[in-house]
């Protein structure tokens, strides 16, 4: 597997992984920008509107028909977040040519289509079509309203929204359907043009074509990309401490039988010089695996919940735990979740726990090279944060993480917010 990255146009970076191990190739083209509340709804809407029609394929039926002709290739609108940097654009998976009749590669066709989706939408008088914008803004509003249908994700989103309410990070949670409904096509067009002119562009490819062939396919596809003054000043603001002395507690109710508990911490001191490997292993020890402290204690030993797992955002510096619990067990669960973290702070990490967590993390990273989507996510993240670490290097680093390093990360954590979504008979309140 050969990885190469180059700036192929001003502010356009092509990262290509040559490999012939997969049945299909993967490509994504994304515009990078700063996540902020002012543009969050507009930016979320843009790729969906662009996918409604292009100059060559003026409506969705045309685009979908063409994709089916390309043997079920995809062109999926994506908006990804890496900390407070947003990557917005399109992702495509398409069959490798050697598995198609005639052995013909689809790389050029797919590159052209992604370029056209991004740069040549169906417009009138230079403006995005009001029909498409109005239709997609309604769908965005519907999606926002529908977020509560998935109770677990909803509870997590509410925690982020409430915990990080003063930070751009919370702009990734779209919660106001009216704001989506109010987007006007002229405003959306302005924002779209602004993004095209100012955004650095990340193109990622993984497949059986070499770097030069990919570049030759991508360059003409993006030749119409306007390049103004590029905004490279994008990044993530890391808050080191909790907002208040004691964790803020939020209670909300919904028609649910099982309470959804989500807790959030600032990772704190370890974000001064983030050690991605140590943070991963810390998370695995705490609640990231089936041999973690949370799983063993909260689920296996105490049967308090069906799930209790932790996750981290190692770019923004957040630790979170979610758990599905009986409402009556709220206090006991919160206490139990904190107690397991306290054990790590005190260095109570057995050799078995440490070696299992190291193994789990390093193995998971070594397996990234077998999955085109995981490869894309890994390199996109590394490129956005400016780190040049391959999955294999990160895997090797995980093997060397010590219990002391893990305890140090735990010691720096600061619980900032606790959110609980439970059944209707409890009054909603905010302490």
């Amino acid at each position: 597997m050969e990885y190469r990255r180059e700036e192929i146009m001003p502010g356009v970076f092509l990262s290509a992984l040559y490999t012939d191990k997969f049945k299909s190739a993967a490509m994504c083209v994304t515009l990078l920008s700063q996540l902020d509340h002012e543009h969050a709804y507009l930016d979320a809407l843009i790729p969906s509107v662009l996918r409604r029609g292009t100059v060559s394929h003026p409506d969705m039926s045309g685009i979908m028909t063409y994709l089916e002709e390309l043997y079920g290739a995809t062109a999926v609108p994506i908006t990804l977040g890496v900390g407070e940097v947003k990557a917005m654009g399109f992702y495509s998976a398409f069959p490798e040519g050697r598995f198609l009749p005639g052995g013909r590669s689809e790389l050029a066709d797919v590159s052209k289509l992604l370029g056209e989706l991004l740069l040549a939408p169906n417009t009138r008088g230079g403006l995005l079509l009001p029909d498409y914008v109005n239709s997609e803004r309604s769908k965005l509003a519907e999606r926002i309203r529908a977020s509560k249908n998935d109770r677990i994700t909803y509870a997590f989103q509410r925690l982020i929204e409430l915990m990080c309410s003063y930070e751009d990070y919370s702009a990734s949670i779209l919660s106001d359907p009216d704001e989506a409904e109010s987007i006007h096509y002229t405003r959306l067009t302005r924002r779209y043009r602004e993004l095209l002119a100012t955004s650095p562009v990340e193109v990622f490819y993984c497949g059986a074509e070499d770097f030069n062939t990919v570049r030759e396919a991508v360059l003409p596809a993006l030749s119409a990309l306007p390049r103004g003054e590029l905004d490279f000043d994008i990044g993530t603001d890391v808050r080191m401490n909790a907002i208040e002395d004691k964790p803020r507690r939020f209670f909300e109710t919904m028609d649910v039988g099982q309470g959804k508990l989500v807790m959030g911490w600032r990772l704190g001191d370890c974000m001064e010089e983030p050690d991605f490997a140590a943070m991963r292993v810390f998370n695995a020890v705490y609640g990231g695996t089936a041999s973690s402290k949370l799983f063993r204690e909260m689920r296996e030993a105490r049967s308090l919940c069906y799930y209790a797992s932790s996750g981290i955002d190692d770019v923004k510096g957040l630790l979170y735990v979610h758990s599905g619990i009986d409402k009556a067990n709220y206090d006991v669960a919160v206490e139990g979740i904190c107690a397991e973290l306290d054990k790590i702070k005190r260095g109570e990490i057995s050799d078995d726990e440490l070696s299992a967590a190291r193994r789990y993390c390093s193995q998971a990273l070594r397996l990234v090279v077998d999955d085109p989507v995981e490869l894309m996510m890994h390199y996109l993240k590394m490129n956005i944060i400016g780190a040049e670490i391959s999955p294999e290097e990160l895997a090797a680093a995980c093997e060397g993480v010590t219990a002391g390093e893990i305890a140090e990360i735990a010691a720096g954590t600061d619980c900032d917010a606790i959110y609980f979504l439970s059944g209707e008979d409890e009054e909603a309140s905010v302490e």
Partner: protein, 425 residues
């Protein structure tokens, strides 16, 4: 036991397969140069197989036993298998469907040790009163979690509207009440009935030696051939839904719907099943796929959203069709669906749309070969259906438009459909 290999040059894979004397089917797809090794032990037993004959006696079990058993199989005398996998850094899990229970792991090191553990866990029943009681608490929480999930509630309501007495009516996990009746003996009975090698498949994908996998399986499973129990789904059901419409109310933003039909309630085995399923999938793609007139026009009119899905699949002796999503006006969507089916029955599908559907189906199936987990699940499911997985790729070019049109006329009649709804409270 000798493993036999067959190449599928069109998609670049080689499948090694064999069967032990005890009846265990083994499939290996070598992937040289890959780090990931995936092993998947599947049992031809799921939530719908509640009633069966064992040693000449009829056994009736409560809803949720197969899923409960899946949880408890991880308990070994030496500890919890999930923890042992996890300590070795392997990613392991299991799931239970209506007609299959599967246990799997992924790793890049200690493959032999992990495979041994996988085979040990599916062949070692170890249940106590205490551990069963404890699991009732954990699964009770899982059930509560699924009962909060509108998609899950909708699916179960749909099965309830389609079927009169077939056990697919019930949730695979059962209810808090039904699992309360499970005892260690229930679990031992079900294990004895279904977890026999002849009723199982071992599938492996990765950079492994097929012969070595077969040798290990032979060494680690019993020698004798034991016939599995025969599930009893009750009297064969008719093709009309029990209810034309089912409505539930939950705290959801907009209505959610599934339109579904029983296409067949006595599925044939073997190639006939493969052909029927493939033709059904292609027919559904032609009529309701992403480029179809139905989807693109309803999407543009605001009646459908990006979450619209369609599916034709085998389940516990039946073949089911379903499509659904969320919509502010699900009744109108249903009306248009019926119009689409009626029109297609009269005029047939557009030949160009058929060719595109065939191409897309091929590309999507090819892409799924990037996922070892998906390959393993398909190999096992096809084995239990009595046909070959990779043969599906050969079949696609052989399906004719006449078959598609005949399928639509015979199976996708609007009067066979039920409309199931979750409406906002």
């Amino acid at each position: 036991m000798t493993m036999h290999s067959r190449e599928y040059p069109g998609v670049g894979d080689t499948l090694w397969s064999g069967k032990l004397d005890n009846g265990l089917s083994i499939y290996v797809v070598p992937r040289p140069g890959f780090q990931k090794k995936t092993a998947f032990a599947a049992v031809n037993y799921g939530g719908a197989m509640r009633n069966f004959t064992l040693d000449g006696r009829l056994v009736e079990t409560p809803a949720g036993v197969a899923h409960f058993l899946e949880h408890k199989m991880f308990d070994l005398p030496e500890g919890n298998a999930l923890n042992i996998f996890s300590e070795r850094g392997a990613e392991a899990n299991a799931y239970t469907g209506g007609d299959m229970t599967a246990y799997y792991f992924e790793c890049d090191e200690l493959f032999d040790e992990n495979l041994e553990l996988l085979l040990r866990l599916v062949t070692t029943p170890h249940f106590t009163e205490e551990s069963v009681a404890k699991e009732q608490g954990i699964i009770g929480q899982e059930i509560l979690m699924t009962e909060d999930d509108p998609s899950f509630v909708l699916y179960n309501a749909t099965m309830g509207a389609l079927f009169d007495h077939h056990p697919v009516r019930e949730s695979v996990a059962g209810t808090v009440e039904s699992i309360a009746g499970i005892t260690p003996q229930t679990l031992y009975d079900c294990h004895k009935a279904f977890y026999v090698p002849a009723n199982m498949a071992l599938c492996v994908v990765g950079d492994v030696d097929p012969e070595h996998v077969a040798e290990m399986a032979e060494r680690l499973t019993v020698r004798e051939y034991v016939n599995p129990a025969v599930p009893d789904y009750g009297e064969r059901e008719g093709l009309e839904p029990i209810e034309k419409k089912a409505v539930s109310y939950m705290d959801v933003s907009d209505p959610m719907f599934i339109a579904a039909a029983k296409l067949n309630t006595a599925m044939p085995d073997g190639d006939e099943a493969l052909r029927l399923t493939t033709v059904g999938e292609l027919a559904a793609r032609c009529l309701l796929g992403q480029s179809s007139e139905f989807y693109t026009s309803l999407y543009a009119e605001g009646l459908l959203r990006g979450d619209f899905f369609r599916d034709v699949s085998r389940l516990a002796g039946t073949l089911l069709f379903e499509c659904g999503g969320s919509s502010a006006q699900p009744e109108q969507v249903f009306e248009r669906l019926c119009e689409t089916l009626n029109a297609a029955a009269k005029k047939g599908v557009d030949p160009a749309a058929f060719e595109r559907a065939r191409r897309a189906e091929y590309g999507v199936s090819l892409r799924a070969l990037n996922s070892p987990g998906s390959i393993c699940a398909s190999l096992a499911s096809c084995r239990f259906g009595g046909y070959g997985f990779y043969e599906g790729f050969d079949l696609l070019p052989a399906v004719t438009i006449d078959e598609i049109n005949a399928f639509i006329r015979e199976y996708l009649a609007p009067e066979r459909l039920t409309l199931s709804l979750i409406m906002p409270k």
